[in-house]
Each structure stands twice: as structure tokens, then as C-alpha cells.
């Protein structure tokens, strides 16, 4: 396939490359000959493996991005952070209470937050990271859970935080507490579980398990597809 895009200059770990200007950082790096053994995952903006930092020519601002999502720009200086060091504390979710002091017990470094907003500036998902960290500090678990919903634990915030907090771990605890203790289980899930336990689907599943390969192919090819 011919690539008719204009070429741009990027610098990967200091080395200069000319790459097509319509590629993502990840594709551009592979175009330039880099082979990803770390720092690449789903390639769809969801796993958080390809955390990247870069600066643009002439700008002092340090930006954060996901290599698989961000399109290259002329004069980009790129470096990857395939892993950010962070310990995730262990906890028994069943034994926790959803309040501020639970957050402080497992992540006491929350008390060091300076509200400097560096985490928010680093986030490639446009999440209000500082806000959910602050919400956790003051015990607003619901707010922390809702604001951190899009987090994919890429680690850019943790690497940049001057107070040495790991925001994505904090957000994860907040979401778990929220889901278990505040939001509660969804009624439709509970209803379905009840149906399963009553044996509503037993016959159908038994039939499928006994079906031959041809029968299964037939069923699969003629299944209902909802294209809404």
C-alpha cells in the first residue's frame, strides 16, 4: 500500500528519523526500525503499556501520550516509559470500609499531595487526576471512582508526581470500594444469576455441549446479529 503522507522528522531516544506524518508514534518507531519487546500491548489505547513522553521542537512543555494513539508531529522528541515502578498494596476488599482513612491506611502518601496538577498535565486520557487524588484524600470515594474511570494505569502520572504518589493505584482502590460498597451490584446481574441458578439455561447449554461441529457451525453462521 502506497503511503502518500508528508514525511516528518522525529527523534527517538535522541536519534533522528524521517517518518510518514500520518503514523502513530508506535507505528512510526516501528517504521524507523525499532522492535517493541516491551511497551506495546493492545495497540488500541486501552492497556496502558505504551506510555510515552515527548517534547515538541521549541517548546519546554513535557507532554504525555499513548504511543499507539498519538499521531507523530514534526520535531517530536520521544522517549518511552514502558514500566513505572510502583508497589500495589495488598488488601482484602471484603474487610475494608469506604472512607478517607481506608485510603490513607493503604496509601498514606496521599497526605503529601501538593495539588500541583502535574499528574493531570501528564495524563494521556484527559483525566482530572489531581481531582480524584484530592477526592480520595478527603474521603469522597464516589467522586474519586467516577473521575478515575477512564484510567488505564499507564503510569505517566506516577512517574511525574513530586509527592511520590501513585495515582492510578489510588483510583483503583477507590473504584473497587465504590463498586462494592457504595454503588452495589446491578439488579440485572442479580436477576440473571438467579435465573441461572434456577436452571433456566441448563437445557440449552446441555444441548450445545452435545452438538456436533456441523451443528455448531450452522448455529454460529445463522446467529442473530444486532447491528444497531
Amino acid at each position: 500500500m502506497e503511503n502518500n503522507a508528508e514525511y516528518v522528522t522525529i527523534y527517538v531516544m535522541g536519534k533522528k528519523h524521517e517518518v510518514p506524518g500520518d503514523l502513530t508514534i508506535m507505528k512510526a518507531m516501528e517504521y524507523a526500525g525499532h522492535q517493541f519487546t516491551r511497551g506495546a500491548g493492545c495497540r488500541g489505547g486501552f492497556c496502558g503499556a505504551c506510555a510515552t513522553i515527548y517534547r515538541k521542537k521549541g517548546s519546554y512543555k513535557l507532554e504525555g501520550a499513548l504511543a499507539c494513539q498519538k499521531i507523530v508531529e514534526d520535531g517530536m522528541y520521544i522517549a518511552q516509559i514502558p514500566f513505572s515502578p510502583a508497589e500495589k498494596t495488598t488488601y482484602e476488599l471484603d474487610e475494608l470500609r469506604p472512607d478517607a482513612n481506608t485510603m490513607l491506611e493503604y496509601y498514606p502518601e496521599l497526605s503529601r499531595c501538593l495539588a500541583c496538577n502535574t499528574c493531570t498535565k501528564a495524563c494521556p486520557q484527559d483525566i482530572m487526576v489531581m481531582d480524584y487524588v484530592q477526592a480520595s484524600l478527603r474521603g469522597d470515594i464516589e467522586q474519586a471512582a467516577k473521575l478515575s474511570f477512564d484510567c488505564i494505569s499507564c503510569g505517566l502520572c506516577a512517574v511525574r508526581c513530586p509527592a511520590e504518589i501513585v495515582p492510578y493505584n489510588v483510583g483503583q482502590l477507590a473504584r473497587r470500594l465504590y463498586a462494592k460498597y457504595i454503588d452495589g451490584p446491578s439488579q440485572h446481574v442479580l436477576d440473571r444469576v438467579e435465573e441461572v441458578e434456577e436452571g433456566k439455561y441448563d437445557e440449552e447449554i446441555t444441548r450445545l455441549m452435545k452438538a456436533s461441529k456441523e451443528e455448531l457451525s450452522e448455529l454460529y453462521n445463522n446467529r442473530e446479529i444486532d447491528l444497531k
Partner: protein, 139 residues
């Protein structure tokens, strides 16, 4: 209120002068104004825990003695500003204490560590205690 000027002239080694200048710059206080009246020490709530009295620390800064950084005084201070309101020469001793702390903290030194706290303590302490503790005593 305008404060009296100090006529104190001290000659000291360049190292001592460097230390004194740095403390002066960081705190914004002119320690040469101190005439060792001791009012700050008498009002300080934490003197029992201190190895050197606040007024002694000020004297050491006046003379450019970096040993002031080795005292536990600067770490026990609660920045209550009792010294500041009492000082007849308008020196904010708490500012000087903070400057001395900063000189140590900025070398990546933490006076207290969150690791030392048990889960029970973390559950019990109000945020205000933990936040202020970390702000004043860690890098």
C-alpha cells in the same frame, strides 16, 4: 512598624558566611538584630524536647555555625509563632527554623517516614495531622 537597624559587625570564615547568608536569604530574617533576650525561648512550648534553645540556635546562625543543623530543635518546632509575637526586635524565629529545616530537607532527607506508622495509626489520625506532618518534616 519600623524595626531598628543592627550595628553588629561580625567577621567570619567564608564557609560560615555562606551558611549564614543562605539562612538569611531563605528565611527573609535578619538574625543580626537578635540581642539574646530569650523571650522566644521562654514562650516556646517545645523547649523540654529541645537540645538547644531557640535563642541559642539564632546565636549560632549569627555566628554562621552550621552545627545548628544537627540539633533536634529545628525538628521539634511546631511553627506556632509564639516566638514571632514575642520577639522585641521583630524577628520571625519560626521562619529561621523553617529555613534550617529546608537546608537539610532539600538534600533528600526525610525526618519522619510514613513507613513507621501502623495501619491503626493511619486509620485514627485526622488528615490535618498527617498532611502537616509530611509538609514540615519531609522532602
Amino acid at each position: 512598624m519600623s524595626y531598628p537597624r543592627s550595628n553588629l559587625i561580625l567577621r567570619m570564615d567564608p564557609e560560615n558566611k555562606r551558611f549564614k547568608d543562605r539562612v538569611t536569604e531563605l528565611s527573609g530574617e535578619n538574625v543580626d538584630l537578635c540581642f539574646q533576650c530569650g523571650a522566644c525561648s521562654s514562650g516556646c512550648p517545645m523547649t523540654q524536647e529541645m537540645d538547644l534553645l531557640p535563642s541559642k540556635i539564632i546565636r549560632m546562625v549569627q555566628l554562621g555555625l552550621e552545627e545548628a543543623l544537627e540539633s533536634n530543635t529545628i525538628w521539634v518546632c511546631t511553627t506556632c509563632f509564639n516566638c514571632e509575637v514575642r520577639c522585641p526586635r521583630g524577628i520571625d524565629i519560626a521562619n529561621v527554623m523553617e529555613a534550617l529545616r529546608q537546608l537539610v530537607l532539600r538534600k533528600k532527607y526525610n525526618r519522619v517516614s510514613l513507613d513507621e506508622l501502623s495501619p491503626e495509626e493511619l486509620r485514627d489520625l485526622p488528615q490535618i495531622a498527617l498532611v502537616s506532618n509530611q509538609r514540615k518534616l519531609t522532602a
